[in-house]
Amino acid sequence: MNSIRHKTKAVFAAGIAGVLVAGVLAVVPASAQDAGRKGYEGVPRTWLWNPNFNEMVDTAKWKKEGPYTIGFSNASISNAWRVAFQHGILWSAGQNSDQIERFLVTDANDDPAKQISDIQDLISQGVDLLLIAPATEEALDSVVGRAMRQGIPVVMVDRKVSSPENYITFVTASDTVVGRMEAQWMAEYLNGEGDIVMLPGIAGASPAEIRIKANKEVFSKYPGINVLEMQYTDWNPATGKATMAALIQKYGDKIDGVLADSALQGYGAIEAYLDAGYGKGEIPPMTGGDVARMYQLAHEYDVPMMGIDYPTSMGITGVETALDVLNGVPVPSRVEVNMQIVTSPDAETASVKADRYLLDHVSMDDPGDLSPSNGLPEGYNPATFDPEYPK
């Protein structure tokens, strides 16, 4: 599946990373070097290209003798991304069962009020650390801050809460990079002229809002790009499809591009075009990474696309970072996992070059809901994967 081109790049990246890690950034701790280890080689570019120094957190005061009880409060597993993300977390807990005695998991069904209760229930069970993927930034801030003040270290993963003093570190990928890259690619692919629609995720969820802001930052430099309409899609393929169908009906061929911030609604949008009678090569350029079906449909119907997965592998890094905290290893205040840019073969633009083309990234046989950037062992299938972990 890996092209020679990709291998060359990987070797090159590893070379640079090696030099940097060994030399310039000799003080970078293990967790930072490891941030993109599983499935994605190389140090995250957000770490390398940060024009400021990366801020480190001293975790000595959280150091504790193992084995540990870790509580993981998940917002939900209500879409393919979240399922793969939780799979990574459970798998990683299993991989570290020498250090983890019990790994407790709760699921809030996207209800922040329930998640507050879930977090309290985990605290009641005497967890040594809380790993939290909050349903919303704001509503969980208070309860998370109270946990920290009670002496329970908190590591945020995937999403954070509003106040930085309420957690130790935040394991994520850069939503600003996702938002900028997608918008930059769209603007350049359309040569700076065109009417587009924006299909962001969930209103109020921080990844969605940050991406929108980053999109707008880019478009502010392209006055020829006109946003016809923006509709939230809840990162749901069915909603994405229904929303896009309505937009096609309203604007038809006037739409020159579809800026979806994820493939979850993105492939729904492609399906809406197919249902509306658009054929191979007739669908306008689209963005959105995260699940295989988007890349597969783009290949099958010649949709010019650019995707940048928000890697579900951050769950694996989240567990590893949590263990770093309990072991007293310093961690960056923000742990970013690596991301790769995927485009259709002829869709690279001046500033957005592909790390991989569509079929380097997924195969046509992959399950449609596969998250390609999962970091899990070869042959991972979300439908059947059932990792062992210390319960």
């Binding site: 922040p112 009020a113 229930d121 509503a139 208070s142 209103a203």
Partner: protein, 318 residues
């Protein structure tokens, strides 16, 4: 199973709440066996903090169901009030004394409008309150699409702090249910809710001001929702238009499980209180047992069906 229960009922072996109490006992024993941290002061303190919102909306829902109605605008209203309070306060503690009574009036007022529309337009409350829910939600979203605003820390403390070792929320919840219980059973106006729910026509012929009683029931539901929303916004610290939405359906479960029948006229707040305890402790237990939240839905559904089944068999038997 239901035949046994019916027989026991006929012989007065099984008072109304026995089923819920029995389930509660089973859950507590199971919890104690599953984890030695289940039956602890800390866990039960948290439980009372968790219960208060569900408790107050269910209390409100009890009034509307008692008169044979229902209020489906509870969730949207709760969200709207959190948005109002957080936006209005915006960290300022000195405005709490304005925000709280205004929130209560807002709740009671919207409730009264629900009741009035349903009574005078003669439209089923299901439709009126569903429509109202949509109106409130839309208006709230126009003002604030994403969670925002903020309440001062001292306001958050009412949701999390203890007074003499017991959560403030526990006092609030017990007081609200006690007042409501006494009012319903011991006052003329309170008992009118039962008359209206039991047989509206008979109540009218006996000189009960049916329309006013109905409007009052919805106003009380709105008022309780506003109290719940105050605790909710204290808990989360922000106004969130969506945060209340699951409460609409959640508020019905404890009422039904507690033995208040959907047709109205029978039941009461003590049963609802037990229902709230049951649902809350059950969710807590399932979290302790590491059961996926999908099962939490399934088990809640099963409990409703079983409870309603038992109450129905009771009516046939009685």
């Amino acid at each position: 199973m239901s035949a046994i229960v019916a027989t026991m009922r006929r012989n007065r072996l099984l008072p109304n709440y026995m089923v819920v109490l029995l389930l509660l006992a089973i859950i507590i024993v199971a919890g104690t066996l599953i984890s030695d941290r289940f039956l602890t002061v800390r866990n039960f303190s948290f439980l009372f903090q968790q219960m208060v919102v569900l408790g107050l909306v269910s209390l409100g829902q009890t009034f509307t169901i008692l008169i044979g109605g229902i209020d489906l605008s509870i969730g949207a209203l709760a969200g709207a009030i959190t948005v109002f309070v957080a936006s209005f306060l915006d960290w300022r503690p000195d405005l709490i004394w304005v925000a709280v009574p205004v929130a209560m009036m807002l709740g009671a007022g919207i409730g009264a409008i629900n009741g009035t529309l349903s009574v005078f337009l003669r439209v089923h409350p299901l439709i009126v309150t569903l429509g109202m829910s949509s109106v409130i939600f839309g208006l709230t979203l126009m003002y604030r699409k994403q969670p925002g605003g903020s309440v001062p820390i001292v306001f958050e403390d009412i949701a999390y702090n203890n007074f003499m070792g017991i959560p403030i929320t526990a006092y609030a919840l017990v007081a609200a249910f006690a007042i409501a219980g006494v009012w319903l059973q011991r006052t003329g106006t309170g008992r009118m809710l039962y008359f209206v729910g039991g047989d509206e026509e008979a109540a009218r012929l006996n000189g009960v001001p049916v329309r006013r009683v109905k409007i009052l029931a919805y106003a009380l539901a709105g008022f309780c929702t506003s109290l719940a929303a105050l605790f909710l916004v204290a808990k989360t610290g922000v106004g969130d238009p969506r945060i209340g939405l699951p409460l609409t359906l959640q508020s019905i479960t404890p009422v039904i499980v507690g033995g208040t029948i959907l047709a109205g006229g029978r039941g009461g707040v003590f049963g609802t209180f037990l229902g709230v305890l049951l649902v809350s402790i059950l969710n807590n237990l399932l979290n302790f047992a590491g059961v996926s939240s999908y099962w939490q839905w399934v088990v809640q559904g099963l409990i409703i069906i079983i409870a309603v089944g038992i109450y129905r068999s009771d009516r046939r038997g009685g």
